[in-house]
Each structure stands twice: as structure tokens, then as C-alpha cells.
Amino acid sequence: MLVLTRRAGQLLRIGDSIDLRVIRIEGDRVVLGIAAPTSVRVVRGELLDAVSDEVRKAGAMGDRVRELLGPQG
């Protein structure tokens, strides 16, 4: 992993078309500005973890969902 130190206002460019700027630093929070093509998806890491966790749970409960849905499915 590349580790870089940046100050507020400084920029990182990723590839040819993604700019990541440190807008400001507030205590233990960093406010970032991201400029990227609309085709590039930007999501928070914790959301990725949450979706992954939910997918694992859903994939282990197919029988339970079918059982509970029963004829009303």
C-alpha cells in the first residue's frame, strides 16, 4: 500500500482522471473532495463491509426465507 502524507488543501491524482483533495481536517476526521468520472463508483469502505456481511447472511438463509414466506411468497 502506498502511504502518503498530505496537508489540508493538497491534492492527489489517481490515474488520469481522479482527483482526491484534502478539504480540511477536523479533529480525527478528514474531509475529502473527490472529482472522478461518473463511471467511477465511490463508496465508503464501511458500506462495502456492510453489504458484504448482508450478502453472506442472505446466502446462508435461503431455506429460512422460503419457509417463512410460505404460500404468501
Partner: protein, 119 residues
């Protein structure tokens, strides 16, 4: 119908091969991994969960007009509540049997949208 997710599911990149079986009576879709003892999902077309959200995904450029958009269902809590994972829809090019799972942020795309109380 065979479904290939070349990138796998979110957090499960090795889960790429599935079989889809539609239940005409319920409108639900079984999405089962083709490996032994693999993942076993019950899903629903997005139109059944949130009418209108499909058009929104098309407008966002996330789905094509002819794509099948599946939402994975789960059960949580006691008494049990049926929930839909709108944060992670699966977009499928039905003609090709190839799909991908998105991750969407925002109030319209909750991880556990309550669909029905099952008690």
C-alpha cells in the same frame, strides 16, 4: 438460467457461478451457487420491491432498459421481518446471463428495507 458474475459478489469475489430459477407463482427468484453447499439466496425483481426504482437505476446509467435487476432478500429479528438489500442490487444482462453487484449509497438504497412482517 445460468448466471455468471465475473467479479463475484461484494466481499465474495470467488462466488461467480449461479443458477437462477424463477417461481412463477410467487414472482421470486432462487439464486443458488453452482458449487456444492454454496450460497442459496431468495431474490426478487426490483419492480416487486420498489416500483420505480428500476427506472431510476436506468436513468443513473447503472442498468440497461432490458436488464434484470434482482434484490437479495433476508429475514432478521424476532418476530421475523423480511428485508430487501437495496444497497446491493444485482444487475443482470438477461440475454447473456452475465451480471454484477452494485453498491449504492443513499436513503433510497437501504441495506435492510423492511418488506413484510412474517410473524
Amino acid at each position: 438460467m445460468r448466471l455468471t458474475l465475473p467479479l463475484g459478489l461484494v466481499g465474495l469475489p470467488g462466488q461467480t457461478q449461479f443458477t437462477l430459477r424463477s417461481d412463477a407463482s410467487s414472482g421470486l427468484v432462487e439464486m443458488v451457487a453452482r458449487e456444492p453447499d454454496g450460497l442459496d439466496f431468495v431474490a426478487a425483481p426490483i419492480e416487486r420491491i420498489r416500483p420505480g426504482l428500476r427506472d431510476r437505476l436506468v436513468a443513473m446509467g447503472e442498468a440497461g432498459a432490458g436488464d434484470l435487476v434482482l434484490i437479495l432478500l433476508a429475514v432478521h429479528g424476532e418476530p421475523p421481518v423480511l428485508t430487501a438489500n437495496l444497497a446491493g442490487p444485482i444487475i443482470i444482462e438477461a440475454d447473456e446471463g452475465i451480471g454484477r453487484q452494485l453498491v449504492l449509497e443513499g436513503d433510497d438504497f437501504p441495506l435492510r428495507a423492511e418488506i413484510a412482517k412474517l410473524a
